[in-house]
Structures are given as C-alpha cells and as structure tokens.
C-alpha cells in the first residue's frame, strides 16, 4: 500500500488536488518511493489545500512535506490504508478528516522560517532627538499608544520625563482585545513591558483562554487599568494636573496638543485572524530566534507585511474602526460579557471619581446585545488557515521598500 501513498505524494508534488480517499488503488495510483519516509498526513493535506488555492511550486512543496508541526499535539500521522504497522501508534487517518487546526500547526513553522529569512522591514533611522521637544509620557492601551510613541521617536520627538502624562484608552472590551493582540505580536518581552501580566515566556494563550485567566484573577492587565495607571502617575508626578486620561477617539487634537506635534501617525488594528496567526507564529519563532529578535520580527517583519485586508485603521473602539479591509478584531465571547461589563463599569466609576471622563461601555456589551461569534471572535481555524496559506503562497513577500512600518 505504500506504493499508493508514494503515488499520491507524486500527484501532490505535481500540483494535484485529488483527496486521498479518492486516490486510485492499483498501478494507476502507485509510484516508486521518492524518499525514505512517507510524509505525514498533515503535511500532505496542507500541500493539497495549497494546490487548491494556488501554485506552491516545487521548493515550497518540498518544504511543506518535510516540515514538522511545532509544539505538542498530534504527531505526524500515517495515511489510512498505507500505514507501516497499524497495530501500534497513533491511528492512521484520512487526511481529509484532519482539523484545520492541525494544518495551521504545520503552516506556522514554514511561515516562521519565511519570517526569519525575510527579517524586519527596513525603516529609516530615527531622527536625532529634538532638544526643544515637549516633555511627555505616553501610556495606556498598547495599540493606541505604542505605535504613536514609536513614530514620534522616529521623528525626534521621543518622550522624556518631567512633562504631561497622556493615558490613552477606550472601552474595556476593546482594550482587552488590543492588549491580547499586542501580546500576540510582541510577545510581551521588552518594549510593551507586559512580562508580569501572567503570560510569561510560555506563549500567549488563545483569546478565550486569556480572557478566562483574567476572569479568574478578578482584575485586568495593569497597563489598561486606566484609573490605576493615572493614580500611579499622579503619585509620581505629584499632581493630578499633569495626568490626562483620553478615552474618546475624537480627542486626537487634544493628544496632538499635549504632545506638541502637528500630526499623529494613524495606527492600525490587526484582525482576529492575523492576531491568532501571530500568536501561533510567535511560538514557532521561539524555536528559532531569541526573544528580542522574535519581537522585532513580529512587530516590524510580520505586522507591516500583513495583507491590507487584515488591518483596519484604528481611531477608537473596535466597533468604530474605519475599516480599510474586512478585518474584525477579537470580540468578547458571550460567557465573558458579564464580568467584562462589570469591570468596565467599575473602571469608569473610578475614573469619574478621580476627575476624568467616564469610560464607554464598549461594542456588544450594551444590555440585551450579543455580538459574539462561535469562535469567540478570536480567528477560527479556517480563517487562520486561509490567511496562513495566502501568506505561504507569497502574498506577503512583495517589495516593501519605502513602505512605512506601521508599528
């Protein structure tokens, strides 16, 4: 029966799309061995799917067939009907029955290799810091504040102590989604300062698991606990008047004035699928490069290369993003809506008591509303696989010279 398996391997290498279950038995479907080991069912099925949506070419086909799925999980499985010894080991499978999650596992290793080879998108050197720049600190929601700070540093307007503290935020569901997305892309080592948020070096949990961990902790990540952030900075600066909490997307002119700049970069919010893919990629990258390099590759290698359909211009809450593509950020699933709303309301009351504006409730959390999708808005495996395959086929490898790094 292995001759039939080798026949199918040859068919797939030639760009074929026939499923294993329909592959003919007998001389018509047989072939001589083309290697020492028949590739696993996951690898073969991923190649078949790639053949369905594009032309992977011989080099990518070989890489797919020789890849191992990173991390723990089901081993490389044998094909039903062509197993070496089916009495022992994992049960052989029909590749058509494999979950898309299994195929994503294989794809992430290849994408991680691509990303390591591509490296970060080159960007112009940072300008010399302007001595006359405004003294400020920019903190809060990582998707709202980090890209702005990064761009201002590049322009020579980096933060320095002793001035105003600008705390950027939005409704709690969006900030939770932003924080998780930021973790997926930056892994929380260094610049985001998120290492103590219960996620460590073990990888970022999936969106539902991550929310569950925060429900158990009965808190929110320090960085998006806006009243806590404001209180800390009031204590450090010694006065409430220096600390500004801005939670309304219409306050961008205020932000410009506080920071002393004429224009602000327009950051983007990746889709839930892109964040989920980045999360998986970060685990695979962890097997290849140092944490600092991994962070750089995710933020300045992957992020700017994402297909534009996976990004939406970001000006405030997730629900109010002016989308440039069909990108939808993670949505709080039904089972988490109550605690997120209660914690958001509590946060809003604390902000008002401290003399700041109240916090919006957030999309999908109004009484009686329900926006949750079956995947918890965290990027279902099918969508993630589709994105991964598009990228494997080269959707992200075009020339990027001159394209600004958005993060």
């Amino acid at each position: 029966m292995t001759a039939r398996a080798w026949g199918w391997v040859r068919h797939l290498r030639a760009g074929g799309t026939t499923p294993w279950a329909q592959w003919p038995e007998g001389p018509e479907g047989d072939a001589e061995p083309a290697g020492r080991v028949i590739p696993g069912a996951q690898q073969l099925e991923l190649l078949r799917r790639l053949n369905q949506v594009g032309a992977p070419g011989p080099e990518l086909a070989t890489r797919v067939l020789e890849a191992s799925a990173p991390g723990r999980g089901r081993p490389d499985l044998e094909l039903v009907g062509a197993a070496h010894d089916s009495r022992f080991g994992a049960r052989p499978v029909d590749p058509g029955d494999l979950s898309e999650d299994e195929l994503v596992r294989v794809a992430t290793l290849l994408l991680a290799e691509d990303l390591v080879a591509l490296g970060p998108v080159p960007r112009r050197p940072d300008a010399v810091p302007r001595p006359w720049r405004r003294r400020y600190r920019l903190v809060g929601d990582p998707l709202l504040s980090d890209p702005v700070r990064r761009e201002l540093i590049a322009r020579g307007h980096g933060p320095r102590p002793g001035g105003v503290i600008v705390v950027l935020g939005t409704d709690l569901p969006t900030m939770l989604a932003d924080f998780w997305t930021a973790r997926c892309f930056a892994f929380g080592q260094g610049s985001l300062g998120l290492g103590a948020q219960g996620l460590g070096a073990h990888g970022v949990p999936s969106w539902p698991e991550w929310l569950e961990s925060w429900r158990a902790r009965q808190g929110v990540p320090t960085r998006i606990d806006l009243p806590g952030v404001a209180r800390t900075w009031v204590q450090r600066r010694g006065s409430r008047q220096h600390v500004h909490v801005l939670t309304d997307p219409g306050q961008r002119p205020d932000v410009r004035e506080l920071l002393g700049v004429r224009r602000l970069p327009a950051p983007v919010r990746p889709s839930a699928e892109a964040a989920e893919l980045a999360r998986r990629l970060s685990m695979a990258l962890g097997l290849m490069v140092t944490p600092a390099r991994r962070e750089l590759l995710l933020t300045e290698g992957l992020m700017p290369r994402l297909p534009s359909t996976e990004l939406s211009a970001l000006s405030g809450p997730a629900g109010s993003s002016s989308a440039t593509g069909s990108a939808a950020p993670p949505v709080v699933p039904d089972e988490h809506r109550d605690w997120v709303r209660q914690r958001g309301e509590r946060m809003s009351r604390r902000l008002v008591r401290a003399g700041y504006a109240e916090l919006p409730i957030g999309p999908g959390l109004e009484d009686g509303s329900s926006e949750a999708d079956p995947s918890g808005g965290s990027g279902g495996s099918g969508d993630v696989l589709s994105l991964a395959m598009r990228m494997l086929l080269g959707d992200w490898k075009g020339p990027l010279e001159g394209k600004p790094v958005k993060w």
Binding site: V37, R72, P75, A90, L287
Partner: protein, 411 residues
C-alpha cells in the same frame, strides 16, 4: 581489526532512570572519552535541548536556549571517531520524519548505516503498572489539574487523540517507538533495557544500562546527584489542588521554581512515609494485557533485551489502594503545612532581596533624576568639580558663594 564508528541513541522512555544515567554520563565525560566514548554535552541538559530543537517543541521557555542545539550535537557526534552516545527520553515521541533527520545528521548521510557508522537504538522500558501513575504525577508537576480518574479515562480511550493521550502513548508504546526509530535496523542493534521489578538490588538498573551501552569495566563515578523524585498520594493530591486554584494565575516562569522545584521536589518529595501512587486494581488486568502484547511483539522481533522481559508485566495489585482523588485529608493537611513552611521561608528570603533591591533602586532613581536635570546644571556641576581641584578655583568659588549669600559647599 579496525573498530567501526558507532552511535548509540537512547530514546526513552521517561521515568526509567534516565536522569541518573544522563547525570553519570555527563559527569564522567572525560573518563568516557579516554575509553573512546563521546557524550557530547556542555551542560547537563544539552541533549534535552537538542531533542527540543529536533522536535520543534516548546518547553516553558527552555526552547529559547535550544536553537541550533541538535545540529551542534550531531556535528560533535560526526566528528568523533569512536562511539558516541545521545540520550534523552523525549526523543521517544519523534515522528518518522524527525527520526530520519536525526539519524541522517548523526551519521552524516543515510539514516542507519552510512559508510562505517553503526547505529544502535537503546530504549529503557518499565511496566505500565508503574508508568501510568508516574506519568500522571509528571502531569501534575507540570501545572495540570486533571484528576487521576480523568487521566486514566483519557489514556484508556482507544482514540488516543487528546493531548495527554497522544503524549502518553507516544512515549510509552514500545513497539511504536521502535517502529519509528528502528524500522530499518537489524534487530540486534535495537536494545531494550528493562527496569527491574520492585525489590531488585539498587544497582541492578545501572548494571543493565552499563551492559547496553558497553560501559562495563570503566571506572565511573556513580554518585547519585540528579533524580526526578516521586511524590506520595497526599502530596500529589495537594499539588493538584494548588494547580486547580492557582495555576492559571501563576506564570510558567514562576511556577517552575516555586511549585515544581521548591514545593514538589525540595519539600513534598521528602515526605516518604505517605502512601505511594499506584494503578487502581481494576486497571491491572488491562495494563498487563497491553504489556503482554508488547512482550510478545518484542520476542517475535528478536531485539536484544537487557534484563527480563517479564519485568514489563509489573508488580501485582497492592492489597490496599490509596485513591489520590479522595486522599486522607489529615495527610493532605500535613503536606500543606510543610508546603506553607517552605513558602514562608522562601518569602522571607525574597523580602530580604526585595529590600536590598529597593535600596539600590532608590539610589539609581536619584542618580537618574540628577542626570535629567537641565544641561546648565551639569555644566555648572562640571565647573564646580573643576574649580575645586585648584586653590585659585576654590577661592573663586568662595567668592561666588559669599556674593550669592549662602555658604553651602555642595553644588
């Protein structure tokens, strides 16, 4: 006669004395090298890191240190003219493709018998009756809150498609491991080392390892320095309860030193008088039947067995069985008191460290604040320092201070 170059690859299984074996090999590298045997390792866990790299496994952050480790190990093996030993138990789960890569890189070409290189696969094995509770305990020591009953249900599920089931059978099913690692090797190059039955002399397992690896006659330091100590029933039950309540709130990076090392290995494993974990009597027959099919298969294939294949049947069921899902609460409380004591002592130590760091931080922050002051301040500071080095300068400073109307000397 010219002796052929040999590579002995020890691929498992877990909980078969592998930590002790690897410790002995690591500490005696120089002696072994004198006898023509290479154990290529710069640190104790070098082969673990290499296995993580080969199999693309994440392991609580350790994989960060594993980048390129397999190729580095293979390069040393290829460069050694005599016998080389590679050993780690997680290699048992390697896929066929990974095995192909492993053996190709170790030998430099073909997977099994390239040129003058002779590949041997060594597998140390223990009965399922003892392996099953040991594997559950390992899960608990790695943050799992799964009950013993649920664990048993998972691994006895014939589908074996859960994460736990996949891993368990991947590292325990002897014929499958050999299928993946040694499908093309002649049976005399596959060596199964059985772990002796309970009650055997303490050094019996080492004698078997020594025979399998060809170490007899070499004067090795066998002092036990590393082991993976076991916990009793109440201690494991306590740890599982801790996991259930707190594991989601503790970083893996904190869990490893605080829970696995401090609580499990350094504190709870010292309570040796509590009941030991064993397989429920109801599963003995099933476990022995599974082992029986493996024994039959191994005999049929004609592998080199070091020890007794009947050791794989395991000990008989205990007369009384202690259920870790319903432990004696007084014993759990005793274990909890020991755990609290250990954590108190550790907390006191960390408070001391915190106090020292707080002091250092305050000093650093003050220095930082000074450095952020206006540039003219630093200019004046430099000027004052320069002036204070000469008599004329000191005179000018005194004049200036009198003119300003204050007498402080410090800038």
């Amino acid at each position: 006669m010219v002796s052929r170059k040999r590579v002995l690859v020890h691929v498992g299984t877990p909980k078969t004395g592998t930590s002790h074996l690897q410790d002995v090999l690591f500490r005696n590298r120089a002696v072994l090298a004198d006898h023509g045997i290479c154990y290529p390792a710069e640190r104790f866990d070098s082969h673990f890191l290499a296995a993580l790299d080969l199999m693309k496994l994440n392991w609580g952050g350790l994989e960060l240190e594993a980048v390129g480790a397999w190729d580095a190990l293979a390069e040393q093996v290829r460069a050694w003219p005599g016998t080389s030993i590679v050993s780690h138990e997680i290699l048992a789960t390697a896929s066929r493709m990974q095995v192909d890569r492993a053996l190709s890189t170790l030998t430099g070409d073909g997977p099994t018998d390239a040129g003058d290189v002779e590949v041997h696969v060594v597998l140390s094995v223990r009965d399922l009756v003892r392996q099953i509770p040991a594997e559950w305990q390992e899960n608990v020591k790695h943050r799992s809150a799964i009950s013993y009953a649920r664990f048993l249900e998972t691994i006895t599920d014939p589908e074996r498609d859960s994460r736990i089931g996949t891993w368990f059978w991947g590292v325990q099913e002897i014929p499958d491991i050999v299928n993946r690692w040694a499908a093309t090797l002649p049976p005399e190059r596959v060596h199964l080392v059985t772990v002796p039955a309970p009650g055997a002399p303490r050094d019996e397992l080492w004698h078997r390892f020594s025979q399998a690896f060809g170490l007899d006659g070499i004067d090795l330091d066998l002092t036990p320095e590393r082991a993976n100590p076991s916990l009793g029933v109440p201690e494991t039950a306590l740890l599982r309860r801790v996991n259930r309540k707190f594991a989601p709130r503790v970083d893996p990076a904190d869990y490893r030193p605080l829970v696995r090392e401090l609580l499990a290995h350094q504190t709870l494993s010292r309570r040796r008088r509590s009941d030991r974990l064993t397989l429920p009597p109801a599963l003995h027959t099933w476990a022995q039947e599974v082992s029986g099919t493996w024994i039959e298969e191994i005999r049929t294939r004609g592998y080199d067995v070091v020890g007794d294949l009947d050791d794989l049947l395991g000990p008989p069921p205990p007369e009384t069985w202690s259920d870790p899902d319903a432990p004696a609460e007084a014993e759990v409380a005793g274990a909890a008191v020991d755990a609290i004591g250990a954590l108190l002592i550790e907390a006191a130590r960390l408070r001391e460290v915190e106090g020292r760091l707080t002091h250092e931080l305050a000093e650093t922050r003050a220095a930082l604040d000074r450095s952020y002051l206006r540039p003219t301040y630093r200019l004046r500071e430099k000027a004052v320092h320069a002036l204070e080095h000469s008599g004329v300068g000191r005179g000018l400073l005194a004049l200036y201070r009198r003119a300003r109307g204050r007498s402080s000397r410090s800038a």
